[in-house]
């Protein structure tokens, strides 16, 4: 009799567990179904993004072409007037400095990679990762060493460029980029390579376990800014 009762209780518990399992199961499947629906929406969003990206890419190429044509027209229109010719040269020169045209020249390439020994390292894991402030500091030091043009993963450093941390990636010029960070700079390579100095920021990062390389080169190409700088709040003071 007691044996039967024990068995009944065991079976009862099992039935309960089984029912519970099935119940949870059904609920999970129900929520999964709804997220499959959401997946479709996400896919549509992805398609939309790709569409706009493509439109952007095409327009960007057209813009580059148009700007070249504009420069030709401007040269043509100013060639008979020395004053205007000077202004024309200032515009062309200015566009290189502000990042509105692609430029080439001698310089250095600095590559920053997240440290590898994250799991085993006794170092603080966040130390071996490249941070927004690291990239910002390297750019600041490059400018200090006389860099005339800088890009980070082909994003041109312009007047309004800021670097912002977003988890494992950083936002720059509205684009999200992740490690490795390839920082290109045009300037006198010997000066720019001065960033390798003892006690400098690069050495500091190496000490933290970040992968750092610096390579000099005779010809570095830095692309044009991928966006447009529009002023909404700012006005030039009228010359009196």
């Amino acid at each position: 009799m007691t044996k039967k009762r024990t068995i009944s209780i065991i079976l009862g518990i099992m039935c309960f567990a089984l029912t519970f399992g099935i119940f949870v199961q059904v609920r999970t499947i129900r929520s999964t179904n709804s997220s499959i629906g959401q997946n479709q929406e996400a896919n549509e969003l992805r398609d939309e993004i790709l569409k706009y990206k493509e439109r952007y890419d095409n327009r960007f190429k057209e813009l580059e072409e148009a700007e070249k044509e504009l420069e030709k027209e401007r040269e043509e229109a100013t060639k008979n007037n020395s004053e205007l010719e000077q202004a024309q040269q200032k515009i062309t020169e200015g566009n290189k400095i502000t990042g509105m045209t692609e430029v080439t020249g001698p310089g250095v390439t600095i590559t920053l990679t997240d440290g590898k020994g994250i799991a085993t390292s006794t170092l603080n894991p966040s130390q071996v990762i490249v941070h927004d402030l690291d990239v910002l500091s390297v750019v600041n030091e490059l400018i200090n060493a006389g860099a005339e043009a800088i890009s980070i993963n082909d994003q041109r450093w312009v007047l309004t460029t800021a670097i912002s941390c977003r988890g494992n990636t950083i936002d720059i010029n509205g684009e999200r980029i992740g490690a490795p960070f390839v920082i290109k700079a045009i300037g006198l390579p010997e000066y720019l390579a001065g960033l390798e100095r003892v006690g400098g920021y690069l050495e500091l990062m190496r000490g933290d376990g970040v992968g750092v390389t610096l390579e000099k080169s005779n010809s570095i190409t830095i692309p044009k800014y991928s966006g447009v700088i529009n002023f909404e709040y700012l006005q030039n003071v009228e010359e009196r």
């Binding site: 504009l70 200015g94 045009i186």
Partner: protein, 230 residues
């Protein structure tokens, strides 16, 4: 007796098997659900990305239209020198504005920083981080102690003499950062929990922020010259 025991064992065995199978299925579904949870997170991200690319396309498109129009204007007015002159001057002014070679004005805020009596002084990195945060929030012009921030501005600490240089010029406390841009965006870029202002105040430094509806920021005073870019 024996027969009943066997039947019982088999029943329990089957029940166990069923239970385990259901559990396994359950784990599998739960695992997949975790992935869809990430996808859910990505969806709001995707929406932001889409808005971002839409804006970028519209901006680049507007710029393209402007350049195309300018080309037309040059083409039409090739004969008239006056018209060409106007066009060139207009372009030059735009370039100079981007270079920071013009005095500018507009709404914005003024941030004044003064180091506390004890402890470390406000550093060049602090200023660099504030400038970066302001730029990220859409600042259109910035100056520190009237040194205009241009795209080739460096902010460095000179240990021999312990002072900060901006654009190669020595600046002294108090540091006055003027910024032109949307006032509330500028303010929230540096204030708030975990913001740079809070951090500096906790360290004992004095920070004041004033809104101003018409700030004037002077032009960059140095020479902008290049030797290496082509």
């Amino acid at each position: 007796m024996k027969k009943g025991k066997i039947a019982m064992t088999i029943t329990i065995g089957i029940a166990c098997f069923a239970l385990v199978t259901v559990m396994m299925m359950q784990f599998k579904v739960v695992n997949e659900t975790d992935i869809t949870a990430i996808e859910d997170m990505q969806e709001s991200e995707l929406k932001t990305q889409l808005a971002n690319w839409k804006t970028r396309y519209e901006e680049i498109d507007a710029q393209y239209q402007e350049v195309a129009q300018r080309i037309e204007e040059y083409k039409n007015d090739e004969e008239s020198n006056n018209e060409a002159s106007r066009l060139v001057q207009e372009e030059l002014e735009q370039t100079n504005t981007l270079l920071g070679l013009t005095d500018v004005h507009g709404e914005g805020i003024v941030i004044t920083l003064k180091s506390g009596e004890d402890g470390a002084a406000i550093s060049a990195d602090d200023l660099l981080v504030i400038v970066n945060a302001l730029k990220f929030a859409g600042a259109e012009a910035i100056s520190i102690n009237d040194e205009r921030i241009v795209n080739t501005t460096d902010i460095v600490y000179i240990s021999a003499g312990s002072f900060i240089k901006v654009n190669g010029q020595r600046i002294l406390e108090p540091y006055v950062i003027k910024v032109i841009g949307n006032q509330s965006h500028m303010e929230s870029a540096v204030t708030g929990t975990g913001g740079k202002v809070e951090e500096l105040q906790t360290l004992g430094h004095t920070v004041t922020i004033e809104k101003d509806n018409d700030i004037t920021i002077g032009k960059y005073n140095g020479e902008i010259e290049t030797k290496y870019i082509e």
